[in-house]
């Protein structure tokens, strides 16, 4: 694990938990710089980090884990999301990927279907490469939106207060 993952892994976990909070409360549409809009939803896998070394990680799979009593309990315990399978959509393109928040790596990524207009293998490769780059750009842009909110001086009195109510509710 890199030094930044050791010291700031919590920030990635706060980011992932914030996505869930925004998805449930604001509908999951995020306005990104440059006028882009991306839709984000949490799919069928989520892992809560262990609050301490003595406690265990908790993974919920299949169905709608965000709607389960176990997930609500984890939030009330102040647990952050460590990993979650996300659905990301921009325009007609949709990706699914599992974000490991501590390292900010993407696992199990599935790209959108190949564009209809691609005809050659070279075109298909270029189209897929563009989609790989795009999904990383989307996650990085979302993270930037989160950071600009998280690093505001009044964050604890504003955004965090709202999220705290949601987590305790």
């Amino acid at each position: 694990m890199s030094a930044g993952a050791e010291t700031h892994g919590f920030l990635g976990e706060e980011f992932l938990t914030w996505i869930w909070f925004r998805w449930e409360n604001d509908g999951g549409e995020f306005a990104l710089p440059g006028g882009r809009v991306v839709g984000v939803a949490i799919d069928d896998m989520m892992t809560f980090s262990a609050p301490s070394d003595e406690e265990t990680e908790q993974t919920l799979r299949r169905g709608s884990p965000t709607a389960t009593a176990e997930a609500r309990t984890a939030l009330r315990q102040g647990r952050r999301l460590r990993r979650a399978k996300l659905l990301l959509a921009e325009g007609s393109r949709q990706w699914s990927a599992t974000l490991d928040a501590t390292t900010m790596t993407l696992g199990g990524v599935k790209l959108p279907e190949d564009a209809e207009e691609v005809e050659t293998d070279a075109d298909r490769t270029a189209d897929r490469a563009a989609n790989w780059i795009a999904v990383h750009e989307l996650v990085a842009s979302l993270y930037g939106v989160f950071l600009r909110e998280r690093l505001r001086p009044d964050y604890l009195k504003q955004g965090a207060e709202r999220q705290a109510q949601w987590m305790a509710g």
């Binding site: 980011f15 390292t103 270029a126 189209d127 490469a129 780059i133 990383h136 305790a168």
Partner: protein
């Protein structure tokens, strides 16, 4: 021509400094210097790693057209490993022990293993692992399509040996520092502490009591370690 994958896991890296133009001769020459070399017939080498291209798994050619992926450059490297079959080793060890009428000493076991490696490795075909990466030169970013530690280490070493550039793995801090934040926010990042979210202690200790999961007063819930 091969087609780039549509699914998988990715580790992201960034570098600082200048990478040669992937369409130019310098780039191809850098790859050629650390091209893959086969160990198919080797007796002593147990592994080999080096650059190949999606069109040529031997490492003999590095045409820019074979690495063109539109907005990115498609790098591929190959890791071959020869592994001495464990069961063969056990069979020979048992036979030697039986011939001596006693278990082999540590030194004898090592000597037997070295001897067997010399005899058997030339006859063992290596396991072949082809690993892909997308290089986005404008962003100084590499997407590596492998998440295992040893493959990542092999890749960063190869990249450094080829281009004299150190790859930094992406993580929440590195990604934040590349997010175009204000200098004040970047400074704040270094000092940042986790938010301490509401915790229902009785639930956490497994002694849940009626009503303990009810929403708690906000003014006692939110704060950071700094506030404590």
């Amino acid at each position: 021509m091969a087609v780039f994958r549509r699914s998988g896991g990715v580790a992201t890296f960034h570098w600082q400094g200048d990478l040669p133009d992937p369409a130019g001769d310098d780039f191809a020459e850098a790859l050629r210097q650390r091209r893959f070399r086969t160990i198919e017939d080797a007796a002593s080498e147990e592994s080999s790693a080096g650059w190949v291209t999606p069109a040529d798994p031997t490492g003999d050619s590095f045409g820019p057209e074979d690495m063109d992926a539109g907005a990115a450059t498609w790098l591929r490297f190959r890791i071959d490993k020869k592994v001495l079959p464990k069961k063969w080793l056990a069979i020979h060890r048992d036979a030697a022990a039986k011939a001596k009428g006693r278990p082999l000493s540590g030194r004898e076991r090592r000597e037997l293993k070295d001897d067997l490696a010399d005899k058997l490795l030339p006859r063992v075909l290596p396991n072949v692992n082809l690993v892909d990466a997308l290089v986005v030169r404008e962003k100084k970013q590499v997407l590596l399509f492998a998440t295992g530690k040893s493959v990542r280490e092999t890749f960063t070493k190869l990249f450094f040996e080829s281009f004299a550039l150190v790859l930094e793995p992406s993580d929440p801090l590195q990604l934040a520092l590349r997010a175009g934040l204000s200098p004040e926010m970047n400074a704040e990042l270094e000092r940042l502490q986790p938010v301490r979210w509401p915790v229902d202690e009785s639930m956490r200790r497994g002694r849940r009591t009626p009503g303990s999961a009810a929403p708690r007063k906000q003014d006692q819930e939110t704060g950071t370690e700094d506030d404590a």
